[in-house]
Amino acid sequence: MTIDNIMNRIQIKLKEDKKLLSIYFTAGYPNINDTVTIIQNLEKNGVDMIEIGLPFSDPLADGPTIQASSTQALKNGMTTEVLFNQLKDIRKTVNIPLVIMGYFNPMLQYGVEAFCAKCQEIGIDGLIIPDLPVDVYHEEYKAIFEKHGLINVFLITPQTSVERINYIDSISNGFIYIVSSASTTGAKSGFGDEQTNYFKRIANMNLNNPQIVGFGISNNETFAQATQYAKGAIIGSAFIKYLTNNGVDKIDSFVKQILT
């Protein structure tokens, strides 16, 4: 079974004629057993895709909010094994695409092949691994990911060259993650012309893979700005902050606020 003959949930979702809202959260935060509740509540309220963050002790690409949620999640006892156990029946209740986002070292320790096999068994559709370089993936892991029906998502930034964007596009088979500005994760005060022009520039490249914008999206205004040229947007830190203040029961009002 390869990715070519069976359409992955991400690929199906990307064909829908709408702007996609994707939400990131750190597994094990605020409480160790919130994972399934958060996923179900997000789907129920109309979120299109979910990125489940596997916490890491040293999240290099993350700002203070996700650093803190990761530290807390680890203190709460989150591990790769625990997460896989929590997710083992997730496909009985949840249909939207699920992506695991995490750093490479925990996957390496679990075993990349075993990790991918487990993801397939559970019904995970894709992975985002910020510190797995494109060429290492290409040479060493692409075949394994594809064997297990997993889409690997790559990031581009305002500094990524046209040549490299084309290369990344050529080895992607889902979407490309546009990092909104040169920064770690975390809410900014909004997007200016510089970002809008950058999103437009990428849109004008007519890439094979649709683009989803992340980093710095926090409300319906930034969501609208980000999706003016892109297929969708990802919200992370703003959602984590919301969970910190409101817990997992009021996810509906967070999502409504973005989608109105």
């Binding site: 650093q67 925990p106 770690t184």
Partner: protein
């Protein structure tokens, strides 16, 4: 077999650049330019001139007569402690500040644990008039007050790293995050042979001046440029890379790497990465690191802040796995004892990092005619409080 770096940026299977895409342009710019810049005659001239006039190189290779008598072998000390700012760290910061300027960078960031690399970075930034920001875990800021004051006097801003365990590894994370947020004007002066390629190789090349000098100094004194053993302590591994460099592929010269066992390798409070570490990724490099079964990076412990790092440079991971270097771990107590012995026998107060290397003579018997070169990586001024507390002086 070559023990040096290959074209793809690996030492054996260790090394590489496991970095988020946000860092790719910065690291790639450096990778494309570092060898070219280092080969420029003007660059070499300026680097060598500063090493001579400002750092005080060449550092002496000193025959330690009384120590040699005590251990019945021939011990030479490579006196990096006599460099300006008191350690080998300045060889690297001089090289990197010149590199940063060639690349048109105007803002310098660095990480520091004990503050030695922070001071060496603040020093070269003052020398060149560049803005300098040093990240330091807030726990280290509290326990290394004199070096914090030095950095401030030299005009650097010291920013506390408040994330994770708030020590060296977190200061390194913060510096990397700063670089992600400032991709155009900033150069990151990393303090050891760690981090993504090309850092381990670049830092090793800047430090290689040390073994280049040992070769001719030993030739003058012993008639041969080859010692039997070269010994160095290993935190990230930059002083070791410096003393090993020109001997890496000459297996007549045996390499000894000394790690910090802390309170004992099995005590749960140790920094002996070769024994306790497993293959993984830390700070953009595939190497050996201390981690949980689940791949979370753990906090090491050593009495010496400069050896208190959960990883080791990829060069050393390869030297360990291939058996090219012998790795020995030394406890806090044994290191402190060896440091005090050096004071009494040779009139040299060593940095506690260096004291670990010196403790090797109690652990390993050398032959009478063996020539053993030890990297005296730094002086102990910064460690007086620790020595005082330990020995109730």
């Amino acid at each position: 077999m070559s023990y040096n770096i290959n074209k793809k940026g690996y030492y054996g299977k260790f090394g590489g650049a496991f970095i988020p895409e946000m860092l790719y342009p910065n690291v790639e710019e450096l990778r494309q330019n570092y060898l070219k810049v280092m080969a420029e005659p003007e660059f070499k001239k300026e680097f060598n001139q500063l090493l001579k006039d400002y750092v005080g190189r060449p550092s002496p290779l000193y025959f330690a007569k009384r120590l040699s008598e005590k251990y019945n072998t021939k011990i030479y000390l490579k006196r990096e402690d006599l460099n300006h700012t008191g350690a080998h760290k300045i060889n690297n910061t001089i090289g990197q500040i010149l590199m940063a300027m060639r690349l048109g960078k105007t803002r310098i960031i660095a990480e520091t644990g004990a503050g030695q690399h922070g001071v060496a970075t603040a020093t070269v930034c003052a020398l060149m008039g560049l803005e300098c920001i040093v990240y330091m875990g807030d726990i280290d800021i509290a326990r290394q007050a004199p070096n914090v004051a030095r950095m401030k006097m030299l005009g650097a801003e010291v920013r506390p790293a408040l994330s994770g365990s708030r020590t060296l590894k977190d200061a390194t994370n913060e510096a990397i995050r700063d670089w992600i947020n400032n991709p155009v004007n900033t150069h990151y002066i990393i303090g050891s042979v760690v981090g993504p390629h090309p850092y381990p190789d670049m830092v090793a090349r800047f430090q290689s001046v040390v073994s280049e000098e040992i070769q001719w100094q030993l030739k003058e004194q012993e008639g041969s440029s080859k010692p039997d053993y070269v010994v160095a302590c290993i935190g990230g591994g930059s002083n070791a890379a410096g003393v090993y460099y020109h001997y890496l592929d000459d297996e007549d010269v045996k390499l000894i790497a000394v790690e910090a066992a802390g309170k004992g390798v099995d005590s749960g409070a140790s920094a002996a990465t070769s024994v306790l570490g497993k293959e993984g990724i830390i700070h953009g490099s595939k190497t050996l690191l201390m981690q949980t079964k689940d791949g979370q990076i753990t906090e090491p412990y050593s009495i010496s802040a400069g050896l208190d790092y959960p990883g080791v440079g990829p060069m050393h991971a390869h030297l360990y796995k291939s058996g090219r270097a012998e790795f020995i771990s030394i406890t806090d107590d044994d290191a402190m004892t060896a440091g005090l012995e050096m004071c009494k026998l040779e009139g040299i107060i060593p940095a506690i990092e260096t004291s670990h290397a010196l403790a090797v003579f109690d652990k390993k018997q050398f032959n009478k005619n063996d020539i053993v070169v030890v990297s005296l990586s730094g002086r102990g001024d910064k460690d007086l409080d620790t020595y005082i507390n330990h020995f109730k002086l």
